[in-house]
Amino acid sequence: MHLPDGLLPVGMAIGGYVGSAALLGFSLARIARLPDPGAAMPRAAMLTAIFFAVSSLAVPVPPTTVHPLLAGLMGVLLGWYAVPAILVGLFLQAVLFGHGGLTTLGLNGLILAPAALIAWGAWRALEPRLPTLAAVIAGSGGVVLSLAVFAAFVLLGLPAEVDAAAERAALALFLLAHLPLVLAEGVLVVVVLRVLARVEPGLLPRA
């Protein structure tokens, strides 16, 4: 679910770069305040590789494509590192395979990175009392939030001449196509976190 090049007005694309740069700057400042800022680099690179690989499994659903997003998983496992990791993954997809876009890199960053951070926040708040629910909310919530921002960008950016009813129908179809993904990513985060907690708790952000 990446916005492709050429679909939205160039002003929105520039605004996306400004927003993503601000979010990246804030995240890097928070990373710099960690006791060992470089310690999470291998985990971030490994998850960026996973994000990059699974996002390439895309099925076209106009005006975009459907594929696993992993915003929730990235947020929970990487925290602030999720922002640079997502931006690097998006950049690689755009320049190596033409998936997503160079001009829409900022907007695509804003679709996924804030969702990852909010999923992380929700997981941290709920995890001590309701670990399974926290994981489901992080995984599924990450997809829902990303979908909401994506839909908002499309509604804002598409020309006014597009038939409103058809636009709503297309967006409804698009959201419907992502419903299995909402459920799947919730289950995926639950399973991954359970396995990590038992086998490699060091990979969990709190450990």
Partner: protein, 251 residues
Amino acid sequence: MPDGDTLDTLARPERAGLLPYDPRARLAMALFLAFGFAAVEQVTTLPLLLVLALLLACASGQLWSLLRRLRAPLVLAGALLLVFPLVAGPTVLWQAGPLRLHVEGLQFGLLFAGRLLAIVTVTLALLATLPPHRLAAGLRGLKVPGVLADLLLLTLRYLEELRGEIVRACLARRLRGGRSRWRDLPGYGLLLAAALIRGQRRAATVWAAMRLRGHSGALAAPLAPMVARDWAGVALAAGLALLVLLGDRLG
């Protein structure tokens, strides 16, 4: 990662073709051209965009490799061309039962698909033809934070580790009788977790060794200063983007 693309193919030696520019210049050229093309609003300007994009693709010396990578954007462009004429605009061009093709929708479809293909072609021609370490060095040279450049290089390094882990885990799963069904989603979660744990162990060891050897950020080797040819390339790209825009607005 699409079939056939491994770290070996991604990291093949640089073949500059007719684009012998510094990575920083290539990044700047790609951005100028991409944003210039994205600002086009007239369908009549599209042939110019597509010709420029095709010329760049030919000049890259890797036309067939680029065309192979353009398959997915071509499918998406085709989908945009199919959908927009059906849903946008009041002027009916053709009608068959409940299906109506609209003039305005056709124009939007052409515009979106044309801009998409032109921008993706330019991006791939200028940047996909660079080896990853040169791309990372270019980003560093443009003052992109070192964390991003290092993350980019390490991601490409670990991509192959991860691919190996996933192939091994899939084989083991099949040998245990696992099947590819929607109901087996938790199984895929286990597979992902196992690949993550094993890959992470190796990645952490490599990273620790690098830090012990004194690495402190900025994996990408610094580049030599840009020469006149590089500046000329950037100026040419900026000029072309400006000319396209002027032609689009005045034409």
